[in-house]
Amino acid sequence: MITPFQVAYKNLLRKKVRSLLTLVGILLSTWVLVSLFGFNRGYEAALNRDIDNMGYQLMVMAKGCPYEAATLMLQGGKGLRYMDQSMVDEITRQPGVDRVTPILMQAFFDPNKGDSGGIAGFYGVDAGSYPAMKPFLRFRKGGWFHDNAANEVVMGYEAAELEQREVGDMTMVPEKNVPLKVVGILERTGSQDDGTIFVPLKTLQRISQTNQITTIGIKVKKDADMEKLENTLYQLKDVQVVSFSQVKQTVMKLIATARVMVLSIAIVAVLIAMVGVVNTVLMSVLERKQEIGILKTMGAMPGDIFRLVWTETLILCSLGGVAGIGFALVFARVTDLLARSVLPYAPSGGLVAIDLRLSLLTLAIIVSVGLLSGLYPAWKAGRIRPLESIRGE
């Protein structure tokens, strides 16, 4: 015996192109919606990962623009101001501070990079305190510096790849022409560390002819009052405090506008798709008026006709939704790439995280909205008067 589901399916197949175009509309809107949900979740997770990989929760740096400073710290760069190294001792004395590490970031001009020269960045870190802040870093080969003034470097995986360096090779600080020996190459981490060249702090200070630093990384004690500590650090002279919870909030605010815009587009896309569903099913109902009339004369109740037409909407939305989720999963990396090209700051790692729960949620939204859209055509079909419809033909 043929089921109402099979009847509905066969009805959709009667106008293949029209049904296919409606399906494509639902597919596209589902694709946009699930990708957006995936981005919302993935971006925050990637940002949290980047922040965790910093190894410390607070940063102190010389006064300047905190947003620019935070972005520069996360992405690497130049143009930061300097502060006195005595600040390290002052911060260490504060209650609530577990460990601190001084950092010096320096950029040098390399005339033999690209067509008209480029910038080479070096990250001066304290050989004693920095590795302890990042115990999760693993070496592909070699290890950390032998002392804080050694002419040595440790390279992130991608930096070593670009420079074609192996442990034991020499590298050169451009502009200053100081050769340094590669003593360690890190495993790939998926974070900014991959592209970083680490130099012992005193060595970089000597090369840069400065005894100052640009940043202090602070690891806070587990039971410490973070807010109180931040307020205490704010009282220190000529420095500013950046907590990574602030950085996260700032970056999330930066992309909030983009998220609202994309969400609006997704809602419009869903609405357009649903208008397509109404149009397709309603057209189908109007074309089958006589058939529906005959079904009613044979004993079909308005509720039976309603269910039959509603099933067509259910099939369209379910198939389109599943296909849209499939496309979103297959092309997640493309979406990731597109998002990276337009965002002011994109953390490392995947930006679009689509899982089963998110897929089911999106499918539920699409099917629910679709069924709501299908109410009018189904109700209209249920109200068709048998004799009028047969006579009308």
Binding site: D115, E161, R333
Partner: protein, 212 residues
């Protein structure tokens, strides 16, 4: 009609997916700014097309072994896996193809060297460009007069010269090192050039000739 429409939709999606894939993967060596660099290497060009070739797609491990044997060294790319895609720039003047640009990474004395060369359709070197090299005296390798010495070279010129040992005769052997303190870089550049010529021969010219 309906089938044609379906095929068109599937083809568009397929091209979108395939076209995006190489851009996501690690690439052996890319021009930093092809819009600027291609006309500089090929002044007569009007456009270019980028494509990606990889050893697994063209012949797999036997091809890798053949390339390594022709180069005289093992471990073709340092760090890069066997499936790393190589970027090939096909250069056009109007609709006519006039040559190729291809680059490789090479280990240098103080850092990586990125050696690019432009070739005509017969495989002859038009010029070469060092996109990146490190060292105080490295700028001498980037001078136009040094690049000019490589004009017209072909893979055959390396038959009588071994850039791994730095020994041999012929045109390549006559090229003097403009920066003697950076000997590793000088031989690195020659090895990079030979690697470029061999890869281009395997990727483009040998299939055109119909035999490896």
């Amino acid at each position: 009609m309906r089938n044609a429409f379906l095929q068109l939709v599937l083809l568009a999606l397929l091209l979108f997916g395939l076209g995006a894939a190489p851009a996501l993967a690690a690439v052996a060596c890319d021009l930093n700014n092809p819009e600027r660099d291609v006309p500089r290497l090929f002044p007569e060009s009007t456009s270019y097309k980028t494509s990606y070739v990889s050893i697994p797609k063209l012949g797999g491990t036997p091809l890798l072994r053949r390339i390594e044997s022709r180069l005289g060294v093992q471990y073709l790319p340092l760090y890069a896996p066997i499936d790393v895609p190589y970027t090939l720039y096909e250069v056009y003047r109007d609709k006519k193809k006039i040559g190729y640009i291809h680059g490789v990474n090479q280990k240098g004395q103080f850092g990586g060297i990125q050696v690019f060369m432009s070739q005509d359709l017969t495989g002859r070197v038009k010029t070469f460009y060092l996109q990146k090299i490190t060292g105080s005296a490295a700028s001498k390798f980037r001078e136009a007069k040094f690049a000019k010495k490589f004009e017209g070279l072909t893979l055959r010129d390396f038959d009588s010269y071994d850039p791994v040992r730095g020994k041999g005769t012929g045109r390549v052997a006559e090229i003097a090192n403009p920066s003697p303190e950076l000997e590793t870089d000088f031989y690195g550049i020659l090895r990079g050039l030979k690697k470029n010529l061999i890869l281009m021969d395997e990727f483009v010219f040998a299939p055109e000739r119909g035999k490896p």
